[in-house]
């Protein structure tokens, strides 16, 4: 039986579309697409290849073990070194030979301390906060029995950032 000409032509067109469609699909769809779902499967491992930037306090402790111990035993124990020693704002370039990626010297200004300890109505009330710096100096300064307390303008003049709590019961 002879196949009608119009059917033959339609079959050819269908075959051609099938081949062309698959060729485009082969070229355009990435290899691992659909491996785990409707996405490029290789991206999962690509995404996790990157090295972490924050390495935690233990890396700092490899050299600065005394500092780390002091911090861990103090009130700032849960805070990783990177919180203060990584600078949020540029302009700090000390300690370049050991680890150029981080700026070692932290911001010693009040701004650095008050980022956490400035009083705000929105802050949890149990958290230690400072509403009034002159008042704080006036009430607590004399207890330290230092002569020049009145001249102090930075938190770090009295408080050690690694172990900030001052035990007035023993010293004062």
């Amino acid at each position: 039986m002879r196949t009608p000409k119009h059917l033959k032509r339609a079959l050819w067109i269908i075959a051609l579309l099938f081949v062309a469609g698959n060729a485009v699909r082969l070229l355009a769809v990435p290899e691992s697409f659909g491996q785990f779902g409707e996405f490029r499967g290789a991206h999962l491992s690509e995404e996790r290849e990157r090295d972490p930037v924050h390495r935690g306090s233990e890396v700092c402790g490899e050299c600065h073990d005394e500092r780390l111990e002091e911090k861990n035993n103090g009130a700032h124990g849960p805070i990783p070194c990177e919180n203060c020693h990584f600078q949020p704002y540029a302009g700090d370039e000390t300690h370049p030979e050991a680890h150029p990626e981080i700026s070692q010297s932290p911001d010693r200004s009040q701004r650095a301390c008050l980022t956490c300890h400035q009083y705000f109505p929105a802050r949890p009330q149990a958290f230690p906060q400072l509403a009034n710096f002159p008042e704080h100096i006036a009430t607590n300064g004399p207890k330290l029995k230092k002569d020049d307390v009145g001249a102090h303008t930075l938190c770090v003049h009295c408080h050690n950032p690694h172990d900030p709590k001052i035990d007035l019961g023993q010293n004062g």
């Binding site: 785990f36 490029r40 090295d51 949020p88 050991a98 680890h99 701004r111 980022t115 929105a122 002159p134």
Partner: protein
């Protein structure tokens, strides 16, 4: 001047450290995030850490912190200066330090009177909610954005064409188009860290433990216990996006 044999550099050394010797298989995990707004002090350490860890360009955010202040006249004041990147300090420090003279109660403490008095305030950290029913991945025309089998919504930057449909679809505003790469970018829960057994950068730096992260498939994990015992809420539950970023102590004024 001390002459000594130099120790290997920090950058050189970190490549030698094997973080979590064996890389865990993502099929063994299901990640979940928990934010305790009652503990957040709004220091912005998470925002700074996120920017460093992921190289987020200025004025774009993968995570940010909002401050809510409700005054006596029932007005809700929300602000987030620079996403909380520099914390929430008053601009003029000198003014802050001398403001005691002007306002005997101290700045913010009953500051102003009557209408401006803050009766309730809190900080709300925000980020991608890694929804189960994601509006953002559904609209992606090239399947560049997807949900990984361990529950993290990711963007394949080699496939993304930067059409920004997903940026519009996200009801939480968690996505942005990277100004240089011109592709969509968003929080990945630090996928490069969590698959190495570390916590996301924002969780590691949080000084008060307001941000928690963990594995639902780990029966002994802290997050599993917290999720089972705490009173939870999610952002915009009415949208049925099923977020997997849960909140403790979320006020109804938070949007």
């Amino acid at each position: 001047m001390v002459v000594a044999i130099p120790k290997p550099g920090w950058a050189q050394r970190i490549h030698d450290i094997e973080v979590g010797e064996e890389i865990p298989d993502w099929l063994d995990h299901y990640w979940v995030y928990l934010i305790d707004t009652t503990k957040c002090i709004g220091c912005g350490a998470c925002v700074r850490a996120d920017k460093r860890e992921n190289g987020v360009p200025p004025m774009f955010f993968r995570t940010w912190v909002e401050r809510y202040q409700i005054t006596e006249d029932n007005h809700v004041h929300v602000d987030s200066p620079d996403g909380g990147y520099g914390g929430f300090l008053p601009e003029d420090l000198a003014q802050l330090l001398t403001s005691a003279e002007k306002d005997p109660a101290g700045p913010g403490r009953g500051g102003g009177k009557g209408k401006n008095k803050v009766t309730k305030g809190f900080f709300v950290p925000k980020m991608c909610n890694h929804c189960r029913n994601t509006p953002c991945t559904q609209v992606c025309p090239v399947n560049a954005s997807y949900q990984s089998p361990d529950g993290v919504v990711l963007v394949d930057k080699t496939r993304c064409i930067g059409c920004s449909y997903c940026v519009q679809a996200c009801p939480y505003g968690s996505r942005y188009i990277h100004p240089e790469k011109h592709t969509a970018d968003k929080c990945t829960w630090c996928y490069h860290r969590i698959t190495k057994g570390l916590m996301p950068a924002c969780v590691t730096v949080c000084p008060t433990g307001a941000r928690k992260f963990g594995d639902l498939k780990d029966e002994s994990s802290e997050i599993k216990k917290l999720l089972a015992t705490q009173r939870l809420n999610v952002l915009k539950p009415e949208l049925n996006t099923e977020p997997f970023c849960f909140y403790i102590g979320l006020d109804q004024s938070v949007r």
